[in-house]
């Protein structure tokens, strides 16, 4: 089980809990579980989110493995100028 923290606007759409326990070996699995558990996240997940694993931010890398005991944050899609 991995502890996952949703950030900002994503947290509100996931019932507001500060930390979730999710069974996921890759980013793809994590996002699937989140979509199933929290249908209100569907739009954000479709637009794309950023996932931070132990401080490193991944934007589209679905098959990136999530090591056990990793610190995982799900952030809104990061874009810039």
């Amino acid at each position: 089980m991995t502890k996952v923290v949703l950030s900002g606007s994503l947290k509100a759409k996931a019932g507001g809990s500060p930390e979730l326990e999710v069974e996921a070996r890759t980013i793809r699995e994590l996002l699937s579980v989140l979509e199933e558990r929290f249908p209100r996240l569907a739009d954000d997940l479709e637009q794309g989110v950023a996932v931070s694993i132990d401080g490193q931010i991944f934007r589209d890398d679905w098959y990136r493995e999530i090591p056990p005991d990793a610190e995982v944050f799900v952030l809104p899609r990061l874009a810039a100028g």
Partner: protein
């Protein structure tokens, strides 16, 4: 790709990376040879012009273009009705390109015409009849949030609130982030400062207006030439908006005269394509300056409140902020990034930031270098200065006491890895600027800033030509010297002189996909791909040499641009240069190229500290910037002159934002200053030389340690200048820009309250 073991600053001696070859694009740009968005012509080309709403907010019941179509020289008219339905994530983009039943801001495109020349097009525009029903408008972010504000959308219920509101409003969404317990934190503080701030909207101010040339053939294939920061994204977006297969549209990025984030989306491109499709001829659209101001993507204007508490010994116990950003007439202001970056420079136990994304009757905002961060940083860094002063602490020491370090929990959640904020603060403290004397009426400001860096999808091809020179194909438009930097990295990997490598930005049909040049990602991502493609080419070059010598592949090494046997056991052969191997390429297996198609990961974050001295004319309120120093962590500066250029450019834009630039709206909801005369950018005569210090704390996620630098430099200046001007004027300024009337008004108010000596 992780940091090369020998790239740590103290260990590696780069041969060409870190040098300063003359920029390769300079001569073409100053002689007029460079081709920008408006510089392409096609036989039979038509001129496209856009009809824009004269009203800030209006419903339109119908558009009658019959007279326009019948006018001499007119070949096509396009409205939103010509476009089919698109997926949800593109609907706002399309509606912004052409209004659908409602004009949401003055300047909102309503229809477009293609005609044989400008005169015919403009005459015909005047013949398009639009039946407007003018509606009440709102342009101010706070006014738009008031309960009685005119609504842009009757069905907008704020998302992110639980329970959801029952009535519609102009607040698209609410978000909050943080950790710990701010109430407890403030209770434990000896000093608490709370201030409210406002910033006005600004424009990226690129000198080159948007321009494009679209040509759709009878079979539905199309070519598009445009100035953009991301031609692959333009291709994919336009293909979807116009109902085309992606492979049928070929987009070429022109040389770009500035973008800064404002050219990461589309405004006129889908319109030009649709006009060309209907007219059966190429169509060129060039925006004029007023259109750029009224109908491209300025920044948000904001209203913010920040509260910081600290103990006597200088530890911040809590930080809180409430941010309200308007993103124009569509949801999507950078409120989350503003919230995430506001306190990023500080290691806080207790933090809470909330944010409102608000819509108003203004053009749809677009990115501008570190979107959202300059404004929230202005608010936080202003309060940080006040807290330091109340504690009697040196302003840099106070920041050092609370600075984010390796392993700190970031304001946005994840722990920081290796970061360089402390190094920039220490460099600022030690810099002669910080201890230089100040005369009466002068003030010094310091501020820190943070921005994310991104990786993203990147493709690079490297071709070895018959004479041993290298052709590098890139797909990230060059907005900051990336062509030269890529050539330096390829030359470094191949062990050849820099000028043996030439880079071009290819069109979308000639290379794999590339994400947009934004997010300070290019030197990092395209650099990583260039290094990977170079290493791929080196493997192949060694294979060919092995073949030519008849020895095993693993018996060949690559050194200083040549293949050599790895040792005397491998054989006694003279080294083979790139040219030697390339000359025989056809005989040894075919063309030699290196490739890389990656999703670049491992981008590091970038911090900066800025120092600024200014002088305030107490009578007129005018501010003069006397001295400015940018100190920023670049990880590894591949081409230091370009890095310094990014530092200086971000500072100059931030100074303009802090002192003079603002969108001024009239009571009628119309933009009053849609031109450079009245929208006052700093020019060369306004500013002193901006000094720079490049700090290098290697990013462990890049082979050379590169961090992106393009955006962080605009994050501290609003705060640094505000802190400096506040010190010089003797009164805290909280509303940007600090134009002379505002400075004078603040001085007058402080005098009236007895806080400042009378004249």
């Amino acid at each position: 790709m992780p940091l090369d073991q020998d790239s740590k600053p103290s260990k590696r001696d780069f041969k060409v990376v870190g040098t300063r070859p003359t920029r390769p694009d300079g001569v073409d740009k100053v002689t007029g040879r460079a081709k920008y968005g408006a510089d392409l012509y096609a036989p039979g080309m038509l001129v496209g012009r856009v009809l824009r709403s004269p009203h800030a907010h209006a419903r339109f019941k119908g558009i009658d273009a019959s007279k326009a179509l019948a006018a001499p020289g007119v070949k096509a008219v396009v409205t939103a009705a010509d476009f089919g339905s698109v997926r949800r994530s593109l609907r706002d983009v399309l509606e912004n390109c052409l209004a659908q039943g409602k004009a949401l801001y003055e300047g909102h495109a309503v229809a477009a015409i293609a005609a044989v020349d400008v005169e015919a097009a403009d005459a015909a525009l005047a013949l398009i009849e639009v039946d407007y029903e003018v509606l009440p408008h709102v342009t101010d972010v706070e006014a738009a949030m008031a309960p009685d504000a005119p609504l842009l959308r009757e069905d907008m219920i704020t998302s992110g609130m639980d329970p959801a509101p029952t009535k519609p409003s102009n607040i698209a969404s609410f978000m909050e982030l943080g950790h710990g317990d701010v109430a407890k934190g403030f209770e434990a503080a000896d000093v608490v400062v709370e201030r409210s701030f406002k910033t006005e909207a600004t424009h990226q101010g690129y000198i080159e207006p948007h321009a494009c040339l679209a040509s759709v053939a009878q079979d539905g294939s199309a070519e598009l030439w445009c100035c953009t920061q991301g031609h692959f994204v333009v291709r994919d977006t336009c293909a979807q908006l116009c109902g085309m297969e992606v492979s049928r549209l070929r987009v070429t990025a022109s040389e770009i005269g500035g973008g800064f984030g404002g050219k990461t989306t589309v405004f006129i491109e889908p319109v030009a394509l649709m006009l060309s499709k209907k007219a059966g001829l190429p169509v060129k659209i060039v925006m004029d300056r007023a259109e750029v101001f009224k109908a491209t993507g300025p920044t948000s204007s904001t209203a913010m409140k920040v509260r910081v508490g600290a103990t006597k010994d200088g530890r911040i116990t809590a930080g809180a902020a409430e941010l309200c950003y308007q993103g124009g007439a569509f949801p999507g202001s950078p409120i989350e990034f503003g919230a995430m970056s506001a306190f990023a420079c500080y290691d806080l136990e207790n933090l809470h930031v909330s944010g409102y994304d608000v819509i108003v009757n203004r053009p749809k905002q677009a990115a501008y270098r570190a979107p959202g961060a300059p404004m929230s940083t202005f608010a936080v860094e202003s309060v940080i200065d006040e807290v330091a002063d109340k504690l009697g602490m040196d302003r840099i020491d106070f920041r050092l006491r609370n600075a984010s370090r390796n392993g700190s929990q970031s304001a946005y959640g994840p722990k920081f890895g290796t970061i360089g904020l402390v190094e920039t603060l220490e460099a600022a403290k030690a810099h002669p600027h910080y201890s230089a004397p100040l005369a009466p009426g002068q003030g010094r400001g310091v501020a820190c800033g943070f921005w994310f860096n991104f990786g993203g999808q990147t493709s690079v091809s490297l071709n070895v030509q018959m004479d041993g020179t290298i052709g590098l194909s890139l797909g990230t438009p060059d907005i900051g010297g990336s062509r030269a930097s890529m050539c330096l990295m390829a030359a470094e990997e191949l062990g050849i002189p820099y000028d043996r490598v030439r880079a071009i930005i290819t069109d979308t049909a000639s290379l794999g996909y590339n994400d947009t040049s934004e997010g300070s990602r290019v030197t990092f991502s395209a650099g990583m791909a260039t290094i990977a493609a170079s290493r791929d080419a080196v493997v192949k070059l060694c294979e060919r040499a092995a073949k030519m010598w008849g020895i095993p592949e693993d018996a060949v090494v690559w050194e200083n641009g040549e293949a050599k046997p790895s040792g005397s056991n491998a054989g006694d052969f003279d080294p083979l240069s790139l040219a030697d191997i390339a000359a025989k390429a056809g005989n040894t297996g075919g063309p030699i190229a290196g490739h890389s198609e990656i999703n670049a990961d491992g981008a590091g974050v970038s911090f900066a500290t800025h120092l600024v001295d200014s002088e305030v004319d107490q009578e007129t309120g005018q501010v003069k910037i006397l001295r400015y120093t940018v100190i920023q962590d670049a990880g590894k500066a591949v081409h230091p002159s370009y890095v310094e250029g990014q530092f200086q450019g971000g500072a100059a834009q931030g100074i303009g934002w802090a002192l003079n630039e603002e969108y001024i709206y009239g009571e009628d909801g119309k933009l009053q200053n849609a031109g450079f005369l009245d929208y006052r950018l700093p020019v060369a005569s306004d500013l002193p030389m901006i000094d720079t210090v490049i700090v290098e704390v290697a990013n462990p996620g890049h082979p050379y340690g590169v961090r992106g630098v393009g955006e962080t430099s605009i994050v501290p200046p609003l705060a640094a200048v505000a802190n400096s001007v506040s010190a010089a004027a003797g009164v805290r300024l909280t509303h940007l820009p600090m134009s002379p009337p505002r400075v004078r008004a603040a001085i007058d108010e402080a005098r009236g309250e007895g806080k400042l000596a009378a004249e």
